[in-house]
Symmetry: C2
Amino acid sequence: MGYGTYLALIPPELLAGKQLVETPMRHERQRAEAAVNLAVQGQAVAVVSSGDAGIYGMAGLLLETLERRGLTETIPWEVIPGIPALAAAAARLGAPLTHDFAVISLSDLLTPADTIRRRLQAAAEGDFVTVLYNPCSTRRTTLLPEALALLAAHRPSDTPVGFVRNAFRDQETIWIQPLAQATTEGVDMRTIVIVGSSTTRRIGRAMFTPRGYYPPDNV
Amino acid sequence: MGYGTYLALIPPELLAGKQLVETPMRHERQRAEAAVNLAVQGQAVAVVSSGDAGIYGMAGLLLETLERRGLTETIPWEVIPGIPALAAAAARLGAPLTHDFAVISLSDLLTPADTIRRRLQAAAEGDFVTVLYNPCSTRRTTLLPEALALLAAHRPSDTPVGFVRNAFRDQETIWIQPLAQATTEGVDMRTIVIVGSSTTRRIGRAMFTPRGYYPPDNV
């Protein structure tokens, strides 16, 4: 069970003999209810998320749905980890996450914008490499420029910002800009944005956060 | 090429016909140099990390080594993402990472302890779910209790803290404690610690961070 776009990514041989339940985008609560209904009927149900189901994915809502229906102890469940979008995007950019980082979704559908701003501020003050999920939607376009401006106030102007759209999939796009000049052109909900920390820098076509194996002076 | 413990995790059929270069723990710079030397000789070299090579793994140091030797443009390279330890641990604990989180290594071998403290403080102020890598070594035992105390000053006393040792491997161990009573017993370098945010709570045997699909009052 899952959003059609995600089901289409599954190799056909894994789907042989299985019933496919395609669910529309949004409507996550109904999807979780439907999955639990099938499990109550005795079926083995796999709810598929893109990337890792535990990182902004369906794992939490499924647990919550089991709890609300008093089924936590009666329906066996397991979370299967995957390669999160943050790891796929980082790999395409080089090695931006080889030191401490913070992960923030800019979606304000379920989270108040002020909570998001508070976290951006904390990420800036902690000098975390900062991974932004859901950076822009067609409706919401101002939080990303705001986030970049907030981080730019705390980091060198040439701090690299990496953008990866559709990592390891069709129409993959990868680009890197200096923080002070970063624009939001081409960014959509399927883009992961990684803003470097104060020590992140370019190496050739890549961006890279040193772990400290070599002192900075020696570079 | 890699640390022997990691090479031993690779299914034998993937190793057929390949030369294995086992490298000792630590000595990461020498390992990177040796890998680059083999690549310069024209060999296709895969340096293996545990989990994801881009998250506290070897990817960054390899890029840095190519740069120092002026080989960034001449030796083709690629980073292959994997399932990071944070995603594996989260899956075993339930769904602690379905909202914003910060990732901090407590290893002070290459990072000054004051930088680590600054990031812990920022993670506390941002109310991030906080993932701790390298929480304890035989030599370094005080930073983890300090980190837990710092976070406990900002979060409810019953905030769940999840501990996962050897996720999805032999001798896997999983336990959850309330933050105010959390102890460091049984924690070692192979343990991932996930401290909940102010909204993280228990569901049955799991820990769970709500994304906001249901208002808190309705639970």
